[in-house]
Amino acid sequence: MQLLWDVRVSLDLFLGGLGVGAFLVGVILYYVDVKNYEGFVKKSFVIAPLLVIAGLLLLLTELGRPLNVIKTIYAVNPTSFMSIGIFLQSAFVAVALLIAFKALTSGVSSLSSKIIYAGAILAGLVGLYHGFLLSGIAKEPWNNAIPVIFFISSILAGSSLMILLNLDSLENLVARFKLPLIINMILTLELAAVFAWVYNLALTTASSKHAYDVLISSFSMEFWVLSILIGLIAPLVIFTLVILNKLSLKAVAIPTFSIIVAGSFFLKNLVVYLGQAV
């Protein structure tokens, strides 16, 4: 397999997705009840740009001529998702850093809701861009299901990471939002999107069928075990048991939210590699 994009690209998509997810969960709690979740929201707003920047720095090391990135400001190609994404990510990082700075210096309650709203829109667009970066290349496994899969995965992983960093708010979140139920709904959505992707690969053109064969043969461990079983089905089962009062969320929160985060990386890494293996 000629690997043109290695794990650094997967890490960029994963860390960028974590950042976007963390930012969006912070935005939701900001609009719901900023006073009650001030600490949670502040952590979200501070960590989000750092994660996206970390991903972008890794991506820069993957480029042959990283210093030429500055030329993307004037050499724009509107048909290239990467060209558009560079502007989107730059805008998001700028807005998110401003929000983080204000949150740290003046507190979360002093933030303008307009700038938070702008940040949320940019975060959503960046979250979608991560998938479109691949689907724009138009290789068989990188079809139009990928932006949806990546976006939901980013929301899941980002919110899971923030819950892990705010375990003291866990009881409150469960009582107020029925957290396991919401997470299960998003996990189910992600499972549906992933199976739609696989179904599409298996049933359409000869070359997509070949991609499906490679997925279930060469990448079966990464797909079935790490991405699906550990990353999606195991947390779905655990949260179902929590909803049925068979398990205490407090006892399983750390491992369960951790495997959701890890599963997001496994899935994105698998997709990046699969596209290059066919």
Binding site: L4, G64, K139
Partner: protein, 232 residues
């Protein structure tokens, strides 16, 4: 009407000698592992009834080039004559074009090509044979058979590391009224290069006289390298 260049490869005339591959390397200063002009070999059947085909390959200079579509800086772009060419000065080395290219004819420079001719002063027989550095110094060139003409029109004669490179249809030669090096080198005249928009040109008349095929037509890229007849 603007010129639109294309190429025909007559597979029935092709003898599979690989002169096109070598001429390209020599003309365009491409190092080992980077083959703007190449070929694929396929064998079919079961012995003793076997068939062998040799298909020369190069950039197809597609009308709807996916490499041009995905390039974030327009480094990969189309010229007015329909050449798909690359500008290394604005390339960021993201390799998107290589991923989007269904034909595998774009190459990434992982290292500085021919840098061993600057640094390697080891010789097989000390005092008896030339080292690479000595050869380069004697030839007063980056490497002995360096073609300085490739650097015409602002294009780097040897591309530095970190960017991609590909066949340009020898646009530096075409600008001087010459044919691409692979066309000139072919001992069987299997390649026809010319203006597709000129109805009286050899390429246009040959295309009309045959049923041309292209590589991976299902990709919808509208290649401008056509194949006529069959190898056997």
């Amino acid at each position: 009407m603007a010129k639109k260049y294309g190429m025909i490869i007559d597979l029935h005339r092709c003898v599979g000698c690989g002169a096109c591959d070598l001429a390209c390397k020599s003309e365009n200063n491409t190092p080992v592992g980077i083959d703007w002009a190449s070929h694929k070999i396929e064998t079919y059947g079961v012995f003793p009834k076997v068939t062998y085909t040799h298909t020369p390959t190069l950039c197809n200079h597609c009308e709807d080039a996916p490499c041009v579509r995905v390039c974030p800086t327009h480094a990969m772009h189309k010229t007015e004559e329909g050449f798909v060419v690359h500008d290394p000065s604005i390339c960021i080395g993201c390799k998107s074009c290589m991923l989007a290219d269904p034909y595998g004819v774009i190459f990434f420079n992982k290292t500085d090509a021919f840098s061993d001719y600057v640094s390697d002063d080891s010789s097989i027989v000390k005092g008896g044979t030339f080292s690479k550095k000595e050869l380069s110094d004697k030839a007063k060139a980056p490497f002995p058979n360096f073609n300085a003409a490739r650097g015409a029109g602002g294009y780097e004669a040897i591309r530095r590391k970190g960017t991609v490179e590909k066949c340009t249809f020898c646009n530096h030669r075409v600008a001087q009224g010459l044919s691409p090096a692979c066309v000139v080198a072919c001992p069987a005249d299997a390649r026809i290069f010319g203006d597709l928009n000129d109805e009286k040109s050899q390429i246009a008349t040959t295309l009309k006289a045959h049923k041309p095929t292209v590589l991976l037509p299902e990709k919808g890229t509208n290649p401008k390298v056509f194949y006529i007849r069959s190898y056997n």
